[in-house]
Amino acid sequence: MSLLTKALEGIITPEMDQVAAQENVSPEFIRQGVAAGRIVIPCNFHHKTIVPIGIGNGLRTKVSASIGLYGNNAVIDEEVKKIKTALTAGTDALMDLSVSGDIDTMRKETLNSASVPVGTLPVYQAIAEAGEKYGSSVKMDAEEMFEVIERHAADGVDFLALHCATTMDVVERAKKEGRIDPLVSYGGVHLIGWMIANQCENPLYEQYDRVLEIARKYNVTLSLADGMRPGCLADSLDGAQVQELVILGELVRRAREGGVQIMIKGPGHMPLDHVKATVTLQKSLCKGAPYFVFGPLLTDIAAGYDHINAAIGGAISAWAGAEFLCYVTPAEHIGVPSIDQVREGVIAARIAAHAGDLAKGMKEAHQWDLEMSMARKNLNWKRQLELALDPQRAKEIRKTRNSGESSACAMCGKYCAMEIVAKYLNTTKHSC
């Protein structure tokens, strides 16, 4: 029985109990959320090492880091190092987005190294294998796509990103509308190319019931991807994007009816004033399914700093109701992220998630900030560094940007204002 079916039958599973304890809410709150589809707990029956997490309404906003083999020079060991870095930096989930090389081994390594939920995008592998087998990805047999999906599910992947709603209608809409950048999603682009070359509908849409069957069998959570996510501000909320979202809504309903947990992937590039509308549309059309957003990036021009760009968009999305943030690294739009960039990406996404949680009034988020501010007030440096979102970085900077062991910091030096004012307010010493 899938987790969703159990929740619908009123059963509280150990996974729900664990998530309830992590989030400091009642198991019944989790069960109801899962039953209603507002919360998902991605946990494949075959992923033995997993510590389940909950993603959805009323829970702490989660972040996901992506790794994977790209190109000829990619090495599995390097990617495993990135996984470890991402976990140390505090990611809540991982995606292995390998597109080439020994994809099967990479996936197994990821599942073995990760105590967090793992997601994949099986179409990448289907394309790569078709390329090898036939010398051309357009010659892929639809059956092979389903075979790869089942392979990933059987290996223990907890959530599968699939472009089930990128239909011919949506593709034609994109062409009609004259999108500036219609080729944004790597998986989506290949799937679209295959559909056009073979003049047939998207098999993942047409045979969606088969997708559901596999997902149910292994208790996999679907993470339906958006082939038409906007790749620049000018394309945001255009007809193609919205049409795909309408279809995603239809597929959410069918997944729930089929006892399959589901979340929806989202943009992409959009101006700040589209964020709330985008999240509201998704919540309405997809009936409260958790929203897994990539960024979003609020400007197109921040190459080299897109992790910060995405942190701004992610924070506002989380506030607006998106529950799951896919990280963006400083290498976005430039190349494959280094280990350091993976770390930067995770931290930036976590900052965004936390800022969103504060804005939503989540108690534990506010408690964390309050404790930090009290530590500042008391000039308690040890505590401040412990409470920092990234204690290691805070320590490094404190060490390298100061001289001496003063209770203040080099910004104010001996003129630490907080010490002066504390004396006259008869309170303890303060730090800014």
Binding site: Y134, V138, V184, G193, A331, H333, I397, S403, A410, Y424
Partner: protein, 433 residues
């Protein structure tokens, strides 16, 4: 005649012309904005021509960097390099917040190096000189405060942050509401200590007309300091902050009436759901004067990454109407920024400002993003570098990144190429997932 008095008399100045050209706007729009106090162009009449920046409604959001020595890090050469870095990274102005040994010397150095507007927080120097002369900031003499205002104005500072809006009412309110982090503004703390010790009203509030007189003589733009800004998420929009805003509003009107350009400084640590209200109240109370924001920091817990926390808040408050963003660096809350921190701070804050400009429908900002989008679609790397927020970074990354083409596995009939042909596009299959 000051800039604002000229604007009111219908005179178009060279500063207005330069700003209009820079913003691609009608100069009459600028003149009117200045006349009504919605726009300021900081420029001390003693300063030679520089790259003027207009700050206010309808204009691109501007970015300020902070430099300056402190008692722990007192090296004027490093600070000179920071000025160059901040300008290269694209700041629109900077403030010299020195509290080291030679504050006068630092200010002269900053003014001589700057190609942009320069500001200061005058009470630092008054307070530190009092400590040197009389042993404590609480022994500072009233006359000394006004002497420093005059000295700094006479030397050519274009804008001066002065904590005039801190008065006894505000301090009492703060004591009543019980804050988590009472006063986090260093200038505000100097004055709070002085006022409580001497049981006297803030001279900069009580004798505000004297402040205005000095600023008017040199045509310095007043940046009304925010002594009571929230230093923690928990203190945002409390009674003390609001009381301070009300006083800022009162003084803003008086400055505007006196013919002195004025902008208003604001928070601080603000949760995202407070940002819009903060901005609305401030603009309402302060007669739509330009709003100069520190941050806003969207969380308290990110030492080491406060430039990111500040960019999150800054983009949103900019979208809600803030006109001028003060940068935050990765060193915030931890120490004095390095040169690299300064660069990172300026670029990050520029990104926040740009995102807000986009949101407000600024045409130049939209054109830049469209240029980037088109360069990406055309796989035009040079075009992407030109359109980038910080081209140097992208140029360096592009040179060192080995961008292995992943589609080798597809062989000849790559599906992505089919899709590209269908849409009449070059093959952009390197895009992520």
């Amino acid at each position: 005649m000051t800039q604002v008095l000229k604007a009111r008399s219908g005179i178009i100045t060279e500063e207005m012309e330069a700003v209009a050209a820079d913003e691609n706007l009608d100069v009459e729009f600028i003149r009117q904005g200045i006349a009504e106090g919605r726009i300021v162009i900081p420029r001390n009449k003693k300063r030679k021509e520089f790259k003027y920046c207009g700050i206010g409604e309808g204009l691109r959001i501007k970015v300020n960097a902070l430099i300056g020595t402190s008692s722990d890090r007192d090296d004027m050469e490093i600070e000179a390099r920071k000025v160059a870095i901040a300008e290269e990274a694209g700041c629109d102005s900077f403030m010299d917040l020195s509290t080291g040994k030679d504050i006068d010397g630092m200010r002269k150095q900053s003014l001589s190096l700057a190609h942009v507007a320069v500001g200061s927080t005058m009470i630092y120097q008054a307070g530190i000189e009092a400590i040197e002369k009389y042993g404590s900031v609480v022994n500072m003499r009233e006359e000394d405060i006004f002497e420093v205002v005059e000295r700094q104005a006479a030397e050519g500072l274009d804008f001066m942050a002065i904590h005039c809006a801190l008065n006894m009412d505000v301090i009492k309110r703060m004591q009543t509401v019980g804050r988590v982090t009472d006063v986090v503004s260093r200038g505000g703390a100097f004055l709070t200590g002085w006022m409580l010790h001497n049981q006297k009203e803030n001279p900069l509030y009580e004798k505000f007309d004297r402040v205005l007189e000095i600023l008017k003589a040199y045509d310095v733009t007043l940046s009304l300091g925010d002594a009571i800004r929230p230093g923690s998420i928990a203190d945002s929009l409390d009674g003390a902050q609001l009381q301070g805003m009300i006083i800022q509003g009162e003084l803003t009107r008086r400055a505007q009436e006196a013919g002195v350009q004025v902008m208003v400084e604001g928070p601080g640590h603000v949760p995202l759901n407070h940002v819009e209200a903060t901005m609305r109240v401030q603009k309402r109370l302060c007669n739509n004067a330009p709003y100069y924001i520190l941050g806003t920091l969207a969380t308290d817990v990110t030492p080491g990454y406060d430039h990111i926390s500040g960019a999150i808040g800054g983009a949103l408050i900019g979208a809600c109407g803030a006109d001028f963003l003060c940068y935050l660096t990765p060193a915030e809350h931890l120490g004095l920024p390095t040169e690299e921190d300064v660069r990172t701070g300026v670029i990050t804050t520029r990104m926040a400002a740009h995102i807000a400009d986009i949101t407000k429908g600024n045409k130049q900002a939209w054109a830049r993003d469209l240029e980037m989008a088109k360069a990406r679609v055309a796989l035009n790397i040079d075009g992407q570098i030109t359109a980038a927020l910080y081209p140097e970074q992208l140029k360096a990354s592009a040179a060192t990144t080995t961008n292995d083409h992943v589609c080798v596995v597809c062989g000849t009939g790559c599906a992505a190429q089919v899709a590209a042909e269908y849409f009449g596009q070059p093959d952009d299959s390197m895009s992520n997932s």
